[in-house]
């Protein structure tokens, strides 16, 4: 067939090696390669370098976790302001409209006195079981009230539990800041400004009652304000809301650690957390060691996490100590 649309140099015929004499040399070569892999994996150390093709690439999941990119989207969550307890959602129905599988159901709040609609949601139900995690709701939300969570350990034996209501959807803004610092800092100002405008139009406790409920009536303002750096915040903040919501099956401690790790990783990867990332990479190890006890007591800080994102907590600390000792020996 003439292929006039293709120049001859654009086509090549794959080599079938028809004429070779075969006495098992192809098989032997394959065996050799497999044996080399075996040797490298057996004596090599765990490897996560994208440029490498040899070594063990497994991540020992429950103990080690891959760093979660900021953009990662799993299930939608709703945000509320730590300082005032006001939810960011104004029930504008944008997300309900765009949702491809139609799993978002919002009821708008009404002023009990006048009966007029208020820019807040009275009910907000999301069917997690049918959600396809496309992220459109977060994309279209003009108030940055709905965001995509990073928690993926949602398996449950109780199916109806996956129709998640407002109380279990709410997370403080500081939590979102820990999982996606750059993405939040991009929109933070305008979101907060819009929220202030909306708060003015909300009579009484409307728009903050859900948030109060999950905190058991504790004064909302007392919640720790998010620190500027993402990584320290993770250790310090430990907001109760997300812990309760995420860690259905996890101990609090673990969840906090998890949050801290995520934050640290996010800080490391995202260039935006300007104050955390450089420290993480450039901090002299001596400092890191000095910080290590603190890290052990509260939660890991940036530098520690930066050493080995795939390693478990204990291991990481140990490794850190060993390295420090070696340096000390060398007299650095």
């Amino acid at each position: 067939m003439t292929l006039s649309h293709l120049a001859t140099e654009d086509v090549f015929v794959v080599e079938r090696n028809d004429a070779d004499f075969r006495a098992g040399q192809g098989m032997t070569k394959g065996l050799g390669i497999v044996f080399r892999k075996f040797r490298k994996a057996l004596f090599g150390k765990p490897n996560s370098d994208r440029a490498d093709t040899e070594g063990q690439f497994n991540v020992q999941y429950p103990e080690e976790r891959l760093a979660m990119p900021e953009a990662y989207r799993n299930m939608p969550i709703l945000l509320y302001d730590d300082a005032t307890g006001h939810e960011l959602c104004t029930s504008c129905f944008q997300c309900e409209r765009i949702c491809p599988p139609q799993v978002i159901h919002i009821t708008q709040a009404k002023d009990p006195a006048t009966g007029k609609p208020v820019p807040a949601a009275a009910k907000f139900v999301l069917e997690y079981d049918t959600c396809m995690s496309c992220g459109y709701c977060a994309e279209v939300c003009p108030f940055d009230a709905i965001k995509m969570d990073h928690d993926f350990e949602l398996s449950t034996a109780n199916h109806p539990e996956l129709d998640v209501d407002y109380n279990r959807l709410l997370r403080p803004v500081s939590y979102y800041e820990t999982i996606a610092p750059t993405m939040w800092s991009d929109v933070k100002e305008q979101a907060m400004k819009k929220l202030q405008n909306n708060i003015k139009r909300r009579p009484g406790d409307i728009g903050r009652d859900h948030g109060q409920k999950i905190k058991g009536g504790a004064p909302v303002a007392a919640a720790a304000t998010p620190a500027a750096g993402a990584a320290p915040a993770a250790g310090a903040a430990k907001p109760r809301g997300p812990v309760a919501a995420i860690g259905k099956n996890m101990s609090e401690d673990k969840t906090a650690k998890l949050l801290a790790i995520r934050a640290a990783n996010a800080a490391k990867r995202g260039g935006g957390a300007a104050d955390a990332a450089p420290v993480a990479q450039a901090a002299p190890v001596a400092e890191a060691v000095a910080a290590a006890p603190a890290a052990a007591s509260a939660a890991p800080t940036g530098p520690v996490a930066a050493i080995g994102q795939n390693m478990s907590e204990d291991k990481r600390a140990k490794l850190e100590a060993i390295r420090a000792a070696k340096r000390a020996e060398r007299g650095e």
């Binding site: 079938r16 075969r22 994208r50 093709t53 953009a71 491809p100 496309c134």
Partner: protein, 370 residues
């Protein structure tokens, strides 16, 4: 005269090597295959009707679920169709990003598809797991830019949803340092292995003269010796700016398809290199800001746009009635149409060959049953 008994066997829908819930009603005479009837529909969800109900944007994440190995390519094809329909301009940088994602998808698809085929042949997962390793590396990068590993939902009308940053480009360069080693290992492992030659050569021959009549596309068509690649035949995005070759086979057997896929991975690597070199800076933007994504309306009419998906020609045929959702939305799924050659390709070979031939067509049931 010895007359042997014919035996009817159901291969699938639950079978280790039918790549999903595909079923083949196989009639064998001894071990030789006399007849094969493919049976579909176990994963049917009427995707096309969903496309008629959804708005244009809403349908984008549904295209992820067609060929769930290459959601980036599906997004690209769908976005291109709607862009053609609504007359939307796409910034150059977005075009390059789309090309990079397409070629990464091609590498990961071929790596795993060939791994699965060799697995069907009985090579115990080694090639597959090496391919999976490369795939994981690529998926991590997809996750970084799009937020999800497989259901990327990355393209928007007139661009992509998020720009790629320095981290991505550094990691891509790192990945590309490793890829040639992977190709070499993969070829060395089995390409000349005597047993693979015995199993793959002259099996499932689809002669050049018949390949076009069977409407097969992609590596199956090229393996049969027809140099037809949409990236060359009807260049889309910025494919006309890259230098790459179209690998073709000669016989049209399983081995040729295998070789063509390996060669294609190397060509994709070349395209990636050039794309990284030519990638324009971010000034042009990565998405057309004028497009109203959520309320996009297309003038009444129809559009068909296709891309060279790793599995073949992936096209979307969309008829618009002027509203915000499609009047008719049809997917030209490559694995579905490539399957039409399966029955005839398998006849006369043995049961052991059938699974290998099926593996060499490289199907994904999400796309076949839609």
């Amino acid at each position: 005269m010895l007359k042997t008994e014919e035996l009817q066997i159901n291969i699938g829908p639950q079978h280790p090597s039918t790549h999903g819930v595909f079923r083949m009603l196989v009639t064998v005479d001894g071990e030789t295959l006399v007849d094969l009837k493919p049976v579909f529909g176990y994963l049917h969800r009427n995707h096309e009707q969903l496309g008629e109900v959804n708005t244009y944007l809403q349908n984008m994440p549904f295209t992820d679920r067609l060929d769930y190995f290459n959601s980036m390519v599906n997004n690209h094809a769908y976005a291109r169709t709607i862009e053609t329909l609504a007359g939307v301009e796409v910034p150059e940088r977005a075009q390059y990003i789309r090309v990079i994602m397409d070629e990464l998808s091609r590498i990961l698809n071929h790596a795993t598809a060939m791994g699965f085929m060799l697995g069907d042949m009985g090579a115990w997962q080694t090639a597959l797991l090496w391919g999976m390793r490369e795939r994981e590396k690529i998926l991590d990068m997809f996750e970084y830019v799009s937020g999800a590993r497989m259901m990327c939902n990355y393209c928007r009308f007139g661009g992509v949803v998020r720009d790629i940053d320095d981290w991505f480009i550094t990691e891509l360069k790192k990945l590309m340092q490793g890829l040639p080693h992977y190709f070499d290992d993969f070829e060395g492992l089995l390409l000349n292995s005597e047993i693979l030659l015995a199993r793959a050569r002259n099996i499932g021959v689809l002669p050049k003269d018949l390949a076009l009549a069977y409407s097969v596309t992609g590596p199956v068509l090229r393996g049969s010796g027809v140099a037809y690649d949409i990236r060359k035949a009807e260049p889309y995005a910025v494919y006309d700016r890259f230098k790459f070759k179209v690998p073709v086979g000669t016989v049209g057997d399983v081995y040729d398809r295998f070789l063509v896929r390996i060669a294609e991975m190397r060509e994709s690597y070349k395209i990636l290199e050039q794309a990284l070199e030519q990638l324009p800076d971010a000034t042009g933007g990565f998405i057309n800001p004028k497009v109203k994504q959520q309320s996009l309306k297309a003038p009444a009419g129809e559009a068909y746009a296709r891309v060279e998906s790793p599995k073949g020609e992936l096209g979307f045929y969309v008829v618009s009635d002027g509203t915000g959702s499609a009047y008719r939305y049809k997917v030209r799924a490559p694995s579905f149409i490539n399957l039409s050659a399966l029955a005839d390709m398998c006849k006369g070979y043995t049961i052991a060959d059938v699974v290998v031939i099926l593996g060499s067509i490289d199907i994904v049931m999400g796309e076949v049953d839609r």
